[in-house]
Amino acid sequence: MKKPYIKLLGLTIVLIAAGLIVASLKSGRKFKFETSAEDLHRELVDSRFHMDPNTAREIIAKKNGDYVFIDIRNPGEYDNFHIEGAINVPAQRILDDAYIPYLKNNKKKVLYSNESIKADQVRVLLTQYGYHDLYVLQGGANYWKENMLSGDVFKTKAEYDDEKLTFDPEKLKKAN
């Protein structure tokens, strides 16, 4: 009589423990970062995953199917203006299950926001989360609207670099 009782007790405890382990793994894993900060840092030292507006415009003009442009602004902004062929995935909902097929595929995904900062942050976030082949359109929709809608697609040189120093530090030193 005694032995089956202990066996049952043991089995129950084992099951509860297993359940707890599974539950803790599942609840913690849902939005866990897949790429460590150190790995991502090394990746960013090698390449910044930026795309200049001119390259982007050539891709669109050639209808290069390897790329997809993703507008991460809100639907109102997207309806108002978006880059030809771009799809809309609002930043605040980008981790929703519904958008997984748009982010987890073999295409090169080019993110853009109004400027470049938000898209860059979302790109870093998605890479931390384990997605790949993500790029950031430099200058975003604002620069595009002002500079990319006219001129020869393959001749005009459009450059945008947020990290380019716009003043001369030497002149500043002389002034002092």
Partner: protein
């Protein structure tokens, strides 16, 4: 024998549970992707150049500027009191006490905003607190503090008030001109400046 066997399994399981439960509590310190996504939207990790200029003028010890550009760029020009942690060396052991601390507000800056923002994203992934970004970086610093543009009449009184304040900042940081003599702005009565909201902590 069987009882011992069952007991040992029970002990092992309890040990496993004990090992996992505290880990879950600690993990609240670290962020997951969803939490970081929410933080990105809040933008309370951005420090304006005006706020930073005032902090430097007042010698506020709470702020620690961190220049994340290369050593050469840092040598060519840097902000007063800034520490240079080049992007490549962010996770070097030597810098850990500076980027993972609770005593001061670290303000990362680069030429623009992108590089500083990437540094911020990486430190937030690690769960480090008290890190901020100088909005617009050195380019914005130059345009706003070192070379402020005079507003036009349609800009409103607050723009003129800001302009006069920035001329004062310019004088402080460059030693050029005096705000009174270089300014021919007639702002009749300065509108009381909206009280600046204190920047909330990087992590709740």
């Amino acid at each position: 024998m069987k009882i011992r066997f069952v007991l040992s399994i029970v002990l092992v399981c309890l040990g496993l549970v004990a090992a996992i439960l505290p880990q879950r509590q600690n993990s609240s310190m670290e962020l997951d992707a969803k939490q970081l996504l929410n933080e990105i939207q809040l933008e309370n990790y951005m420090i304006s150049v005006d706020e930073m200029a005032n902090a430097l003028i007042n010698n506020d010890p709470e702020y620690q500027l961190i220049d994340v550009r290369s050593e050469e760029a840092f040598k060519a020009y840097s902000l007063p009191g800034a520490l240079n942690i080049p992007f490549e060396k962010l996770f070097d052991e030597a810098w850990a006490p500076y980027i993972d601390q609770v005593a001061r507000k670290n303000v990362f800056y680069s030429n623009g905003t992108t590089l500083a923002s990437e540094v911020w994203m990486l430190t937030r992934q690690k769960g480090f607190k008290n890190n901020y970004i100088l909005r617009g970086g050195l380019n914005n610093w130059y345009a706003t503090v070192l070379d402020p543009k005079e507003p036009v009449a349609t800009d409103g009184e607050e723009a003129f008030f800001d302009y006069r304040a920035r001329l004062g900042m310019k004088q402080f940081f460059t030693g050029e001109g005096t705000p009174a003599s270089t300014s021919n702005v007639k702002a009749k009565k300065p509108v009381p400046r909206r009280k600046k909201k204190m920047v909330a902590g990087g992590c709740s």
